[in-house]
């Protein structure tokens, strides 16, 4: 079934795969390793108005069936991103969607305003759902009225389409998705990591400094499938699925549940050639399906 295409924001792709924010940097390392074949677009690490050094180590703890992370939006700030990183990223063989985070509604718009001066971004992903920061994180994205205000302000500032990345942790994801659509978002990302924590029961020690982190795992797939399905019932804009993908079958399942495109994140850390492996896998599965 060659010739199969998927589309996002009026652009056709020969793959439905996006690389999830935070797991691919700005795509530069993957480009250097030759890992971007089969990838529709890279979603960058979060970019904030000012540089953020991120949370103290350890930032990653593997648990029995998943991974907790607490990176804390480490990034060099939008000025450095625009002047140094994006010119390098213009060499990427695929489009770059820049993930944007802020501590206030206005800050999201300020970051986007600066990014608008660069010709590089294909679009934006507005991160109103980071579980690892004290300002602008989960609680922020759980309020539909805040989500709508952020979407509206970003929409007024941006000439480019954007997706709003929603939280599964608080509030109603369908209400937030509707609010994003109402505010002018061109897509919603369903969803960010789940709030998780681990404690050493012998010592009582909690390895992450902020105690809780964002939990990801192939085992989360059904949670994403459900949220994608429910969100697709209420919005008309594309739904970008994120969470639990490790096999070609997972990608096809999320597409069948209504997703327009599918992100791969934690699995990409293990398999940097995920884009190629999963795209080839789904083409083969689809080929065997058709008579």
């Amino acid at each position: 079934m060659t010739g199969r295409t998927w589309s996002l924001w009026s652009r056709e792709f020969d793959s439905p795969l996006l690389l999830a924010s935070g797991t691919a940097g700005f795509g530069l390392e993957l480009m250097e390793m030759g890992c971007l074949e089969g990838v529709a677009a890279v979603i960058s690490k979060a970019t904030t108005l000012r540089p953020r050094k991120g949370n103290p180590p350890p930032r990653i703890v593997e648990t029995r069936f998943g991974l907790l992370n607490s990176v804390g939006l480490a990034n060099p700030g939008v000025e450095d991103v625009v002047t140094r990183v994006l010119p390098e990223a213009s060499a990427l063989p695929v489009p770059l969607i820049v993930n944007v985070a802020g501590e206030t509604v206005q800050e999201f718009a300020s970051v986007v305003e600066r990014l608008e001066t660069s010709p590089v971004p294909f679009g934006y992903e507005i991160n109103v759902s980071c579980p690892n920061v004290s300002e602008g994180g989960v609680a922020f994205g759980a309020s539909p009225s805040t989500v709508e205000r952020v979407s509206r302000l970003v929409g007024q500032t941006s000439s480019r389409p954007f997706s709003v990345k929603l939280t599964p942790n608080e509030g109603s994801i369908t209400e937030s998705a509707l609010a994003a659509q109402e505010g002018g978002a061109g897509a919603v990302t369903v969803c960010n990591t789940f709030l998780g924590m681990t404690v050493d029961w012998r010592t009582g020690l909690i390895p992450l400094e902020r105690k809780v982190g964002g939990y990801s795992s192939p085992a989360l797939l059904p949670l994403t499938v459900a949220r994608v399905h429910l969100t697709c019932q209420v919005v008309d804009i594309p739904v970008l699925a994120s969470g639990g993908v490790s096999r070609p079958e997972d990608v096809l399942e999320l597409l069948a549940a209504g997703a327009s495109m599918v992100q791969v994140g934690t699995w990409l850390m293990r398999r940097p050639w995920s884009g190629t492996e999963l795209r080839d896998g789904i083409l083969e599965l689809l080929e065997n399906l058709s008579p």
Binding site: R64, F65, M269
Partner: protein, 252 residues
Amino acid sequence: MTLDRETLVLEREELSPGIFRLTLSAEEDFLREAGPGRFVQVEVSPEPFPLVRRPFTVNRADAGSFRIVFEVKGRGTDKLSRLSEGTRLRVLGPLGRGYRMLPGRWLLIGGGMGAAGFPCLAERIDCGLILLGASSGSRLLEVGGFSNMCITEDGSSGARGLVTDLLDRVRWDDFFNVALCGPVAMMKAVVRRLPDAILEATQVSAEARMGCGWGACEGCSIPASGGGYLKCCSDGPVVPAASIDWDLWEGV
């Protein structure tokens, strides 16, 4: 080139209880680039869990194969220790920045498994002396063919004490370079006692809990002396001792 390679477990040896050495098949291009201090990310199992890969320094690279040495610490190393010869294993690498191969005589200081990368290094430099410390003799990774001075916490091999106790016996004027690798507490104690001129010539092979291993996820941060963090996987794992904020670094 960094590639996700399918290697073959050629040999599995238990060097002492809980410490294993795996010999893995390797192609020429890998061996050429797997310089001292660089590492590989091993996919422990084809099953989804353990989820992320586990990083190991290259212990030694020979014709057609290379070795990793590790102590069983958790689920990943436990699984690896049980692999039988002939198993296929996916290995991403070589990754990271290794030692700067500077001229002049080297002093190597290792604690426990920290010495796992020393054989690869020692044979390519002017290695004058290797100081090794471990909890007991069975935990010492001596490097054959070189001058090893050993100390153990229980006195079962060499003197009884810590590797820092050996520093008084070093004639610092003999050395131009130092390689340091071990548990963070041990490295902190060593760094505090190094003469200033030697500290400037010290390269540290660092360790951190790692996500991707290729510079993207920012999971393996180490506090940097100038503020902010180094990425263990791509700024290192070998970094100048002076680039680390030793007060803030708590290690794995």
